[in-house]
Chain length 409, copies 2
């Protein structure tokens, strides 16, 4: 097969991550080296920039600035939640044809993968010669086939460092301290809070995931037990927890919910679930201090808390995606595999339908039997992903001074 000469187009879709621009830099720098490339374009606001013909000529971007952008959080090409239909796709091809785009790289989650799948199908059915590669990113870590997704490690590092702080805070001034973590269907990010636990009496003492039905009754029993034992309780709750009927607790209490073009309900950006759970504890248990912190958008693009491994892999995925498309002339979705548990990765290209629109949830062996915590296997899985040089906490080990007064009445 003749190898395609033409322009390379790259776009970023869905929720941004802290390392998504590493992938952008990886694609742009690698594509610019290739003799088949006549120019590298970037589409602004994901696929919307294609239909609106809002393209940047990244051929002119300096390598130096690309490196600075690589270490900047959130999609430098901006993003979109648009879900292309047939008409949207026709317009995409009009623009691609006119501009002689022959390689399309779309960095995104499972919804973006589905967009790439539709574009790939349409290109094939209309006989337009186009290489399309989806490159994963998502803090939710919910793409199938992948061992993990770029963006997850850095978000998990944020969650870990946040729970380290909550652990230390709740030890100094005890009470019940809850952290509500992003995660619609998959609990990976919420579960990563376990890495904050160093000492055996530390939290998170309880972790509630969307993968298990949430019961207020068991929740109160759990919290009461932990509070009775430790005099405090640190809890990680996924914003997507559902009751036994599969109904989201957050949506039940939030009258202002919005839905995006992919049919996903907006869960983040409100403290309503945390406030509801805190009130439930206050109304039912004898606890002085009950606090709920909703991490919201902080955990997605927080500047300066990055997993080095996550960052490197995000870069490599961009590079390898260009290789698959331009050297091997293949379409698909790039995936990360893990041949060595602790720790090395390899990359592969799979067919888009294997990834597109599908959601991976935590496997049963990652969740404890009671459904209120995670297993050591999950800890071993997650630990390398948050990167090296994680901050660590320490405690005084000094002996108590013998009491010399009468005990206070």
């Amino acid at each position: 097969m003749d190898r395609l000469k033409g322009k390379v187009l790259i776009a970023q879709g869905g929720g941004p991550t802290a390392v998504i621009n590493q992938t952008l830099a990886g694609v742009v720098l690698e594509a610019r080296k290739n003799a088949l490339t006549t120019a590298v374009y970037g589409s602004l606001n994901g696929v919307r920039g294609i239909v609106e013909e809002n393209l940047l000529d990244l051929t002119w971007e300096t390598s130096h600035n690309l490196e600075r952008i690589a270490s900047t959080s959130s999609s430098a090409l901006l993003s979109t939640r648009d879900k292309p239909d047939q008409e949207y796709c026709s317009r995409i091809f009009d623009v691609m044809r006119k501009h002689d785009i022959r390689y399309f790289f779309y960095i995104g989650g499972n919804d973006s993968a589905d967009t790439v799948r539709i574009i790939e199908e349409q290109a094939r059915s209309t006989g337009y010669d186009l290489r399309t590669v989806h490159i994963p990113k998502t803090i939710d870590n919910d793409l199938p086939v992948n061992d993990h997704c770029p963006g997850f490690g850095s978000a998990a590092r944020f969650v870990t460092q946040a729970f380290m702080g909550l652990n230390l805070d709740s030890r100094a001034l005890p009470g019940v301290l809850m952290g509500i973590v992003m995660g619609r269907h998959s609990g990976f990010l919420t579960a990563s809070s376990i890495l904050a636990k160093k000492y055996s009496d530390e939290g998170p003492h309880l972790i509630y995931l969307p993968e298990r039905p949430f019961s207020l009754e068991s929740f109160l029993t759990d919290v009461g037990r932990v509070y009775g034992e430790h005099g405090r309780c640190v809890i990680a709750v996924a914003e997507g927890i559902k009751d036994a009927n599969g109904d989201s607790l957050l949506l039940r209490h939030n009258q202002n919910h919005e839905q995006d073009a992919h049919g996903n309900w907006q869960l983040s950006g409100t403290g309503i679930l945390g406030d509801f759970l805190a009130k439930t504890i206050r109304d039912n248990l004898h606890v002085n201090r009950v606090r709920a912190d909703t991490f919201g958008y902080l955990q997605r693009c927080f500047t300066g808390v990055i997993s080095d491994r996550d960052s490197q892999e995000a870069r490599e995925l961009g590079e390898i995606a260009v290789h698959y498309a331009m050297e091997e002339n293949r379409n698909g979705s790039v995936v990360i595999r893990r041949p060595v548990m602790d720790y090395s990765v390899s990359y592969d290209l799979v067919n888009l339908p294997d990834v597109a629109g599908k959601t991976r949830v935590m496997s049963d062996d990652f969740i404890n039997e009671q459904g209120n915590g995670v297993t050591d296997l999950f800890r071993a899985y997650c630990s390398p992903l948050v990167g090296t040089q994680l901050p660590e906490s320490f405690r005084l080990r000094a002996p108590s001074v013998p009491k010399i007064l009468e005990p206070q009445p």
Copy 2:
């Protein structure tokens, strides 16, 4: 005057900070070097550990472990919100006398300074020879006399890095994004969000502080104007904002508020203020995406986001406090002054009544005329405090590709 030989007692009170253990290590290491010191004790849970005689013998703590604890967030000696009355103080003296405590260092905010003031007065009136020094810490930066307080710089760095992320996130997926920041009476921490603004169209576009009356009408006008201009709006709101009558908006909407022993209402640990403001925007302005993130306890002890300057000063304050008490035989509150704006500090000892129970708010020249933002003077004031090597964000500078298709209908 004969110099006092005896035991040194140290405790930590009030809300913890990320660098409060630097001060602890500074006091312990310096006091252990002094020939007047017979032992160094630590009281667990602030002054409560004294009345309950829960003391640790820090003489035995290794220097190595003290260094590791210094870089661990949150009070290693744990904390308390207790406000000692006469009886509580009598008990404190019983314990101090029996254990031959002659030097008492209390690391805390203005409430803790007031506790030290009461103890100092009682020691004088009962003729018990005791040197007492209050060492400031507070993320609110609300102690008078001080140019700034240890703990503020690191919390301000967290707020800055968080708003950098919110800026980048809201640029990729535009809307209104609010961050609710701690601050009961003083807006310093909320105001520090301005350091996240690098590009002229970036947020925070609006900053609302407890120092100015908050009007929902002006708020909506402001947000509508910014959203009209930029297509997005990033807002920093202090949790302590009050209406024209001085009533807290948060307390008005929160039926679950608690009060501590110092009469302070609990404001943090709930998303209710952010949710209320988000709903107000949704109900009144035509904005698609409105999100509110309440930073809550994340901003206080977040692990791994530390201002190096804050950390060094917190350490030095502990060291200098020991010097004032043991070498100069003086009581008081250690303060930080700033002889050189950008940047050096000096330390001083002032009388406890100058600091105790008093609250410093932002001066008028730090707040803009409209009361919805801060001045360049504040930025210059705050900028060195968050420390060096702050992460920075960058943007693509590539030129647009000329459009070759008809504009979309």
